[in-house]
C-alpha cells in the first residue's frame, strides 16, 4: 500500500478531495453531487494553469513559470476583442499569443542562460504591461456564443469541466504516450544524461515553455468568458490554487515526474477547500492563513520525500 501511494501520488489529492467533500457536507448539513460539480467547475482555471505549470516544472532545474497569470489575462483580453470579429480567429489568436509568451520564456531561458524563474518574472512584467497599455483599446466583454457554450451543463456537470477533462486527457496522451513526453521527463531528471542519450535538450525545454504558455492562453479564453469579461487583475486569484495544485498533485519540484491526474484533483481539492472554509463561515484572513499553512505543510511533506529517494 505504501509503495502504491509512493508511485501513484495522485491518490493524496483524491483522498483530500473526498475528506473535504465530507466536511462540507458536515458543515452545511447537506451532502450531494452538486457541490462537487460546482467545485469542479470553479477548479477549471487552477487546473489548467496547474497543468501548464506542471509541464514547466517537469522540464527540470527547478524551473517555474511566474508569468502564467499575466499570460492568462492578456489572452482573455485578446479573445474577447477578436471574438467579436470572428470566433475562430479570436480563439486561435488568444492561444497563439499565450504560446508566444511561453516561447519568449523558453528562448530567453535557454539561449541567455537566465534562470527560468527570473526569465518568467521579467517576461511576466512585459506581458502585464502590454495588458495595461492595450486594455483601453480592447473589448473586455466576452463573446455571447462562447458564454452560452461554457454555461451548458450535462446533468450538473459543467461544460467547463468537460473541456478541462478533454484537455487533460490530450495532455496525458502527449506526456505519457509520445516520444516528446518521454524526452521531457528525461530532460527533467538529468539534462546531461538526456543530452548523451541523444535528446535535443534545448528544443525540449523550449517546447515545454511554449506548450505551457498555450495552455495558459486557453485558460484565459475560458476565464474571460466565465467571469463575464476580462479585467487587469483577473489572473491573481488563480496563482495560489494553481501552484498548490501543481505540487499537491505530485509534480516533483526538481523535475522529471508529473501527474496529470494528480494536478487535476489537486485543483479540485483546493477548490473544495475554499468552499469548505467559506461554508465554515471563517473570516477571509483566517481562510487564507489555513490555506497557506496547509500548502506549506503539503510542500514540506511531498517535496522532501522526493529528494530523499
Amino acid at each position: 500500500m505504501k509503495k502504491f501511494a509512493e508511485r501513484h501520488s495522485f491518490i493524496w489529492p483524491i483522498l483530500g478531495s473526498l475528506i473535504l467533500w465530507g466536511l462540507i457536507g458536515l458543515v452545511s448539513g447537506r451532502i450531494g453531487m452538486n457541490q462537487l460539480y460546482t467545485c469542479a467547475k470553479l477548479a477549471t482555471f487552477a487546473a489548467l494553469l496547474g497543468l501548464a505549470q506542471m509541464i514547466v516544472v517537469t522540464s527540470g532545474d527547478g524551473a517555474i513559470d511566474l508569468s502564467q497569470v499575466y499570460t492568462l489575462t492578456l489572452s482573455a483580453y485578446i479573445s474577447c476583442t477578436l471574438m467579436s470579429v470572428d470566433f475562430a480567429t479570436g480563439m486561435v489568436a488568444a492561444v497563439a499569443i499565450g504560446a508566444l509568451c511561453g516561447l519568449a520564456n523558453g528562448w530567453v531561458n535557454v539561449y541567455f542562460r537566465v534562470p527560468a524563474m527570473i526569465t518568467t518574472l521579467a517576461v511576466g512584467y512585459i506581458v502585464f504591461s502590454i495588458v495595461l497599455i492595450s486594455a483601453p483599446y480592447m473589448k473586455p466583454l466576452p463573446n455571447a456564443a462562447l458564454v452560452a457554450f461554457i454555461n451548458k451543463n450535462f446533468g450538473g456537470i459543467s461544460m467547463l469541466t468537460v473541456v478541462t477533462v478533454v484537455a487533460a486527457v490530450l495532455l496525458a496522451l502527449l506526456l505519457y504516450k509520445t516520444k516528446y513526453g518521454k524526452q521531457l521527463h528525461a530532460v527533467g531528471q538529468n539534462k546531461l544524461a538526456a543530452r548523451y542519450a541523444g535528446v535535443s535538450v534545448n528544443r525540449v525545454v523550449m517546447v515545454a515553455f511554449t506548450l505551457a504558455g498555450a495552455i495558459s492562453g486557453f485558460a484565459g479564453v475560458l476565464c474571460g468568458a466565465f467571469i463575464g469579461g476580462a479585467f487587469q487583475d483577473m489572473g491573481s486569484t488563480y496563482f495560489l490554487p494553481s501552484i498548490a495544485a501543481t505540487f499537491v498533485g505530485g509534480t516533483v519540484a526538481s523535475g522529471g515526474r508529473s501527474s496529470v491526474l494528480g494536478v487535476c484533483f489537486g485543483a479540485l481539492m483546493m477548490s473544495l477547500m475554499s468552499t469548505f472554509l467559506n461554508a465554515a463561515n471563517l473570516a477571509p484572513g483566517l481562510q487564507r492563513l489555513i490555506q497557506g499553512a496547509f500548502l506549506v505543510l503539503i510542500l514540506v511533506a511531498s517535496v522532501s520525500n522526493d529528494s530523499k529517494s
Partner: protein, 819 residues
C-alpha cells in the same frame, strides 16, 4: 627503511583494506609515515592512490586494518580526528570559496569564532596572506584582495596549496597532483616549499604523474598498483624508466583477442588537427567494424575528446566552423557513460524506460509509442544481458552499479548507432559484468559497428584493435594489434609532452573598472537623477528629494533583505507579503500597544530564521517554501487587519520627516542601510561565512564553521530588513494594508540583479543594491515626467531586468569567471 633513523614514526597504516561493493580499492596496504620525510606516491590509473589519501584524511573508513597515530591505534578515525592531528590535503578539486577574496579564504581557517574581533583584523589578515604567498611562492603576483574566481587555474592551485600549508600544527601534508596547472618555475618553487616544510618536521605525501619531479622531491618513492603497495625505491637508486617498468607490472593474460578486423575499411570518424580548450592537435581516425581504444592517465582530455566526437555526430553545440572542418563523423553516434549517476541514469525510471530513451523512434506506431514494441525491444536486451532484477519494470536505482551499467550499454547499442562511444564504462563494475560488456562490444563490432572505448583500466585496452594514448590533451602514442600491452600503454602514458601554454594574462585597469559590480547600479542611478533633473529641475529641491527618495526607501530595504537570502544561494518569493505583514503589525498592533508590537515583530524575525532552518534541514528548494510562506504571511496580516486601515505611529512619521544636518531622512536611511549591510557582509568576520555558504558550503564547513547557523543568520538578517522595509512602508503610506506591498517581491528581485548580485549565490553588493533600489523607483518618476503612462512602468522593469542579465552574461564571459 630509508631515512628512518632520528625521525619519529608519526602515523602507521597496518593492513588496510578498502572495498566499495565488489571493487576492492585497497588490499593489505602497509605504510609508515615519519615526521620530516617526503613520500612520493606513484601509480597508474586506479592504483588506489586517491583512496589511500582519503583513508589517511579520514574521509573513508577502512574496511579492515588499523590506523595508528604516534603508536596508538586510532578507533573510529574520522575527518575531524585527521584535522585535529594536523593532516591537511591540497586536493585537485579545489576546496576554496570561489566568491571570496584570497585572504578571506585563509582567514576563514584561522579566525577565532567569537562574535567580535579587534579592529584592523582585515588589514592584518591581508598582510598575513600576502606574506604567506610571498614566502612560499616569491613573485607570484597574486592580489590577495581579488576573489578566487578571477584567478587563473595556476594561481588557484598556489592558493590551495598555501591554504593547506596554513593548517595549525601541520604534521602531514598531502599534495595531490599539485603541479598539474603550474609552470616550471612555480613547480620548482613548490619543491623548495616541500623541502622547507619537511625540514621543519612535517611529513609530505606527494602524488604526481611526473616521474622526474617525484624523483627530485621525494625521500622515498612508494609505488602502488591494483590497490597494493608494489614496492618502494630510493629516488637516487632508480630511474624514470625503471619506475615505468615497475608500474606496468607483469603482463596479464590476454583477453580473447578479437577476430582480425573484417571487411572494408570504411571511415566513420576522421580528426585531423583538432584544438580546443582541453585538446591539442588531435589526429585520429576510426573505421567501420573496429574497436578503438583511448587510453592514458585519467583527465588527459579523453572524455573531452569523446564529447567532441559526440557533438559532431549530433551536429550541435556551438561548434566553430574550424572544428567542423577538422572533425568529421559519418553516421549516427551514441554515448555510454561510466559516470552513471551524473550523466547516465534516469533515477525516477524503470529499466525499460532507461533502455528505450535513445530508441523511441523504433518503438513508435504512428504518433504514439507502442507498449508492445517497447516491451519487445527492451525485453530482448533484458534477456540478453541477464539483468539481476525483479523484472523489466523495476526501478533502475534498485539495481547494482554493474546492472545499471548494462542498461546504459543496452541503451547505447539498441538505438542502432553506427558509432558507439564509451566513457570508462566499467568503472566500479564487477568482473562478470565486465566480461559481458566486452562480449557485447565484440558483437557490435562483428555487426560492422564502430566502438571507441576510453577506459581508466589499462588492461581493458587489450580488447581493442588499435589504441591511442593521450597525455595532457595531446596524443603520445598509437598502438596496434600485438603491441597493445599494459607495459606499452603505461610507457606511453607517462611520456612527456611539451608544456601546455599557461594562461596568466593581465587585464587592464579600465577593464577592472568596467567589471566592478557597483558600476551598473550607480551608473543607472546617476542616469535616472540626471534624466529626471533635466526634464524637471525642481526635483533637486529638498522637499522633492525627500519625497522621491522617501518612496524608494522601502524598496531599498526590501532589496537588501532579498540580497541576504540570495547570498545564501536561495530566493525569497514571499517578501512582498511579509512586508505587508510587518506593515500591518506596525500600523495596527504597534500603534495600539508598543510592547505587543515589538514582541510580534520579534516573533516574525524568529519565523524567518526557522524558515531558513527548515529549508536547510529538509533540503527543500527555497523558492517553493517561500512561495508557500507568502500565503501564511498574507493570512496572518488579514486576520489582524481584514481591511485596509490602521495608522502610522506619530514618532515614526516624525522620524521620517526629520532631516539631520539638512539632509532628508530618507537619504540618510538609504546610505546607512547600504553602508551597514556592506559592513556586515564585507567588513565583519562573519560576513565572509555568510557569503561563503552561497558558493562552497563544504569548504566553509571544512574550515570549522556551521552551515546551518550561517544560513539561519542570513534569513535573520533578511527578516530584519523586511521589518525595516515594512516600517518605512508604513511611514510612506501612513496606514496598514496586507496587500499593498505585494509588488515588492518582483521589484526586489529585479533590484538585486541590477545591484550586481548573482542569483547563484555568494556574490552580493549591498551598496549597488541600495543605489539600484533608488534608481528603480526613480524610473516611475521619469516616466511620469516623460508623460509616459505608469502602465509602461512594469514593461520597462521587465526590459531592464532582461537587459541587465544579458549585459551580465557578456561581462561574465569577458571576466572569464569560472564556475
Amino acid at each position: 627503511m630509508l631515512r628512518e633513523e632520528g625521525r619519529q614514526l608519526y602515523m602507521e597504516l597496518k593492513n588496510i583494506d578498502k572495498s566499495f561493493g565488489v571493487t576492492q580499492a585497497l588490499r593489505r596496504v602497509d605504510m609508515r609515515i615519519y615526521s620530516g620525510e617526503v613520500i612520493g606516491l606513484v601509480g597508474p590509473n586506479g592504483a588506489g592512490k586517491s583512496t589511500l589519501i582519503k583513508v589517511i584524511a579520514g574521509v573513508f573508513p577502512p574496511t579492515a586494518g588499523e590506523i595508528c597515530v604516534r603508536g596508538e591505534a586510532a578507533r573510529g578515525y574520522s575527518v575531524k580526528d585527521a584535522q585535529e592531528i594536523g593532516i591537511s590535503c591540497a586536493y585537485q578539486d579545489l576546496s576554496l570559496c570561489a566568491n571570496l577574496a584570497v585572504y578571506e579564504n585563509f582567514a576563514m581557517l584561522t579566525m577565532p569564532h567569537g562574535l567580535l574581533s579587534a579592529p584592523g583584523w582585515r588589514s592584518r589578515k591581508k598582510r598575513e596572506a600576502k606574506d604567506l604567498l610571498e614566502r612560499y611562492f616569491p613573485g607570484n603576483g597574486i592580489d590577495v584582495m581579488k576573489s578566487v574566481n578571477t584567478l587563473s587555474l595556476a594561481e588557484r592551485q598556489i592558493v590551495e596549496i598555501c591554504k593547506a600549508l596554513m593548517t595549525e600544527g601541520l604534521k602531514i601534508l598531502v599534495l595531490d597532483e599539485p603541479t598539474s596547472a603550474l609552470s616550471t618555475d612555480r613547480a620548482k618553487q613548490l619543491r623548495d616549499v616541500v623541502r622547507h616544510v619537511s625540514a621543519n618536521g612535517v611529513a609530505v605525501i606527494y602524488i604526481s604523474h611526473k616521474l622526474d619531479e617525484i624523483r627530485q622531491v621525494s625521500d622515498r618513492i612508494v609505488l602502488m598498483r591494483n590497490g597494493e603497495v608494489a614496492g618502494e625505491r630510493a629516488p637516487n637508486e632508480t630511474t624514470a624508466d625503471e619506475l615505468v617498468k615497475l608500474l606496468g607490472g607483469e603482463v596479464k593474460e590476454r583477453c580473447a583477442r578479437s577476430i582480425a578486423r573484417q571487411g572494408s575499411r570504411e571511415r566513420i570518424v576522421e580528426i585531423d588537427g583538432l584544438y580546443t580548450n582541453h585538446l591539442r592537435d588531435i589526429r585520429l581516425h576510426a573505421d567501420k567494424g573496429e574497436i578503438l581504444g583511448i587510453s592514458g592517465l585519467a583527465g588527459s582530455g579523453q572524455a573531452e575528446l569523446l564529447s567532441e566526437i559526440f557533438d559532431a555526430g549530433n551536429r550541435r553545440g556551438n561548434r566553430k566552423a574550424l572544428r567542423i572542418k577538422t572533425l568529421r563523423v559519418y553516421g549516427s553516434v551514441s554515448y555510454v557513460s561510466g559516470d552513471r549517476a551524473k550523466e547516465g541514469v534516469f533515477r525516477l525510471w524503470s529499466i525499460l524506460d532507461n533502455i528505450l530513451i535513445a530508441s523511441l523512434d523504433q518503438v513508435k506506431s504512428g504518433v504514439f509509442l507502442s507498449r508492445e514494441k517497447s516491451e519487445t525491444l527492451a525485453r530482448r536486451w533484458y534477456d540478453k544481458l541477464k539483468f539481476k532484477a525483479e523484472n523489466l519494470y523495476s526501478p533502475i536505482v534498485s539495481l547494482s552499479g554493474g546492472n545499471q551499467q548494462k542498461a546504459l550499454i543496452a541503451r547505447g547499442i539498441a538505438c542502432g548507432a553506427d558509432l558507439i562511444l564509451l566513457n570508462d564504462p566499467t568503472a566500479g563494475v564487477d568482473i562478470e559484468t565486465k566480461q559481458e560488456i566486452y562480449a557485447l562490444l565484440q558483437e557490435a563490432k562483428s555487426e560492422g559497428k564502430t566502438v571507441i572505448l576510453y577506459s581508466t583500466e589499462d588492461a581493458e585496452m587489450e580488447i581493442c584493435d588499435r589504441v591511442y594514448v593521450m597525455r595532457d590533451g595531446a596524443m603520445t602514442g598509437q598502438l596496434e594489434g600485438e603491441e597493445i600491452t599494459v607495459p606499452n600503454i603505461v610507457q606511453a602514458s607517462f611520456r612527456d609532452v611539451e608544456e601546455k601554454p599557461r594562461d596568466g594574462s593581465q587585464r587592464s585597469r579600465l577593464f577592472g573598472l568596467l567589471a566592478s559590480r557597483m558600476l551598473l547600479p550607480i551608473a543607472t542611478l546617476l542616469f535616472m537623477i540626471g534624466a529626471n533633473a533635466w526634464l524637471n529641475p525642481k526635483i533637486l529641491s529638498y522637499a522633492s528629494v525627500r519625497m522621491l527618495v522617501g518612496t524608494a526607501v522601502p524598496l531599498v530595504f526590501a532589496s537588501l533583505g532579498q540580497m541576504f537570502v540570495v547570498a545564501a544561494g536561495d530566493i525569497d518569493m514571499g517578501n512582498g507579503y511579509s512586508i505587508g505583514l510587518v506593515n500591518v503589525l506596525v500600523g495596527v498592533v504597534l500603534t495600539q500597544s508598543p510592547l505587543m508590537g515589538i514582541v510580534s515583530l520579534l516573533v516574525f524575525v524568529l519565523a524567518y530564521v526557522l524558515m531558513g532552518a527548515l529549508i536547510h534541514i529538509r533540503r527543500i528548494p527555497a523558492i517553493v517554501v517561500t512561495l508557500g510562506a507568502q500565503f501564511l504571511w498574507l493570512g496572518m496580516a488579514l486576520v489582524i487587519s481584514p481591511t485596509p486601515g490602521g495608522s502610522c505611529p506619530a514618532w515614526l512619521s516624525a522620524l521620517y520627516r526629520w532631516g539631520p544636518f539638512s539632509i532628508p531622512m530618507p537619504v540618510v536611511l538609504c546610505v546607512l542601510a547600504g553602508a551597514a549591510c556592506h559592513c556586515v557582509l564585507y567588513r565583519s568576520k562573519y560576513g565572509m561565512i555568510l557569503r561563503g555558504i552561497g558558493s562552497n558550503p563544504e569548504a566553509v564547513e571544512r574550515s570549522g564553521w556551521s552551515y546551518l547557523a550561517a544560513k539561519m543568520t542570513n534569513y535573520g538578517l533578511a527578516a530584519l530588513m523586511v521589518v525595516l522595509a515594512g516600517t518605512t512602508f508604513t511611514a510612506v503610506c501612513l496606514g496598514a494594508d496586507a496587500n499593498a506591498a505585494a509588488s515588492y517581491c518582483m521589484m526586489s528581485i529585479a533590484t538585486v540583479i541590477l545591484g550586481g548580485c548573482e542569483m547563484a549565490g555568494g556574490i552580493v553588493e549591498p551598496i549597488g543594491v541600495a543605489a539600484g533600489g533608488i534608481a528603480m523607483s526613480l524610473i516611475t518618476t521619469l516616466l511620469i515626467f516623460m508623460k509616459i503612462g505608469s502602465n509602461y512602468q512594469t514593461a520597462v522593469m521587465g526590459l531592464i531586468l532582461i537587459s541587465v542579465l544579458v549585459v551580465k552574461l557578456f561581462l561574465n564571459q569577458k571576466r572569464g569567471v569560472r564556475a
